[in-house]
Chain length 162, copies 2
DNA sequence: AAGTAATGTTAGAAATCTCTAAGATTTGAA
DNA sequence: TTCAAATCTTAGAGATTTCTAACATTACTT
């Protein structure tokens, strides 16, 4: 009975998984060259990573061929992607951080955000965004105004206009 | 003229700086043993780190003596601490994440949050918190309620009661 | 003051992740 | 089909960070 001790994936390995799932979505398949370009690492680093992920049962790979996520790998990759997206939405959509910066931050923070924080962040986004049907909610408008001027504007949640 | 190329500090080195500044605040001085305990690493790791930080001009250290931050080191350490505190405030105070989890997350995320995100986060905290004089603001109460029940409650910002 | 306990350092090894250089395989063009 | 370009892998080295084991120093205790 080989009960593998599942160590948490490193940030690096999560990056590779994420790149692979994104490439699969974009191109149907993931190739070493594209992973390399996407992550700004050299091809040998990708090969090493693939061997590593393959030993963990997260990807399948034939020499000189494509890289494919296993079911488990896909699950892990989508989890990273979800963290990324939630963080990006919050940073760019609520905190009003420049999208380029928000992207960079999301790419780094996605590896350290806990499930609980992620869940509450998702709910917070829902809470803030759903409170307006069109574009920015009152809260968002008010905060954006506060960011620019330092002054508060009234706003409402729950459909009650002030 | 030796113009050192100042590479960004690694997460690890930031952790050491942060521990040192916290210990200095608590005990007046920082010692290897305490840094070791605070960061959950063995003493030789601390010694290595101190040598590293010392080469960067961020700490001073006499063999078998105390560790002290230089001016530059203190500046860097306080910067990390500020990131930590802002993140913790947001997670625990606004997102309603369990303080223990919020602490862990802050400790990890503090190394990857950009200045712009940090600044906007600080303003967001100010925006949300200052909108009530006593404890949780309307927004906070409303979000907490939403977290628990999934239902929205009306609230106000700007001192206007609904 | 001497010896023991506590603390700190040195040396050297292991894990992780990246790179360069060089060689292998595949693809595509003539 | 054969050769050149593109792609991928292997081998080996370097950086970073941690550890254990052994040794050095300092601080107590009596």
């Amino acid at each position: 009975m080989s009960v593998k001790k599942e160590k948490r994936l490193t940030s690096s390995m999560e990056d590779y998984l994420e790149a692979i799932v994104v490439l699969e979505k974009e191109n149907g398949v993931a190739r070493v060259k594209d992973i390399s370009r996407m992550l700004n690492v050299k091809p040998p680093s990708v090969t090493s990573a693939i061997i590593n992920l393959s030993e963990k049962g997260l990807v399948e790979h034939e020499l000189y061929g494509y890289v494919e996520l296993t079911l488990e790998g896909k699950k892990a990759a989508l989890d990273v992607l979800r963290r990324h997206n939630v963080l990006f939405c919050f940073l760019a959509g609520i905190l009003n951080v420049d999208p380029k910066v928000a992207l960079e931050d999301a790419c780094k923070m996605e590896h350290s955000v806990s499930p609980q924080t992620l869940e509450n962040l998702e709910k917070f986004i829902e809470f803030v965004k759903d409170s307006s049907n069109q574009g920015k909610s009152g809260l968002l408008k008010s905060f954006t105004h506060f960011l620019k001027t330092g002054k508060r504007k009234r706003f409402s949640i729950g459909g009650i206009k002030q």
